[in-house]
Symmetry: C2
Subunit: 175 residues, 2 copies
């Protein structure tokens, strides 16, 4: 149970509709916690049912009506309790590393292509984060999570460059 908490944390920084949350998750947070819109709507419903968030219907002029969610007192309380509990260690699921484990029995060329794609993606992400950093205020939480993203991608780029070097340089994968 933890997307729940990610939602609570997101709402603690300001009310939002499901749709808006989905975007926030996609932009700022996707790299350490991802969720599809469907998941968000489902969890918002549950949170509402459990009394941790409240919905308010907002009719808009030039757009479809939306439901905007806010934390209730119980929601704030639940969030504080969550923060107090020790965090479970980060779970990483990185398919590329699995593929890499099988270099010797697989297609090294495909892995080179994969590494190049990864490198490109990391560079884009990094650039995006750096832009956000320049624009962003000095709220501690968002700053530190942004730095996590930046440092993670920097390290990722370095590692991927090492991979490329080894995959290309020494053709002796089968040594």
């Amino acid at each position: 149970m933890s997307l729940r908490h990610a939602v609570l944390a997101a709402l603690s920084r300001g009310e939002a509709s499901g749709y808006e949350l989905a975007k926030r998750f996609d932009v700022a947070v996707a790299d350490f916690w991802s969720a599809t819109p469907q998941q968000l709507y489902r969890d918002l419903e549950r949170l509402e049912r459990d009394g941790l968030v409240e919905a308010r219907v907002v009719e808009q002029r030039r757009r479809p009506t939306k439901r905007v969610f806010t934390l209730t007192a119980a929601g704030h309380q639940a969030l504080r309790e969550f923060v107090r509990e020790p965090a479970r260690p980060a779970a990483i699921r990185d398919e590329f590393l699995v593929k890499l484990q099988a270099v010797e029995s697989g297609d090294a060329g495909a892995l080179v292509a994969g590494a190049e794609a990864r490198l490109a993606r990391s560079r884009e992400k990094l650039a995006g984060y750096e832009r956000l950093l320049a624009e962003s205020g000095d709220d501690l939480g968002p700053y530190l999570t942004l730095m996590a993203g930046i440092m993670y991608e920097q390290q990722n780029i370095q590692w991927t460059e090492l991979v490329l070097q080894r995959l290309r340089g020494g053709e002796d994968g089968t040594a």
Copy 2:
């Protein structure tokens, strides 16, 4: 469907029983792909049913009988195909970052404690990986994934130190 592939990759480096696989996953691989024994047994069954792995019963002298799994030709084939497909981007789920997002409405002291625990854990992991690196052969796949673990933890340590500094140094989290 991807623990399947992680299992195939693991078996491509040598036959193993479910129990042995569980240990391998726990030691070497846990940081980029984790699985409980139950999950492994379940997936091994499916892989067997689908003809990608074969089981061989091995009776042991001083221990309970075990079933040792090997890749079949179809299994090798499936692994090669998996390696050729582009990898989906890594999914990270890091609870600590979620908690950090809520610093302002939560207990900063608990977060300091959490950061310290994270730091300790990362240092242990790093030491373990470095030991493995010294012992290990020069197979490319394992080498690169080990390096991924090492670089990841190094970066993690740096970031966590930054977090501690900010959480402690400037007590003005609510600025």
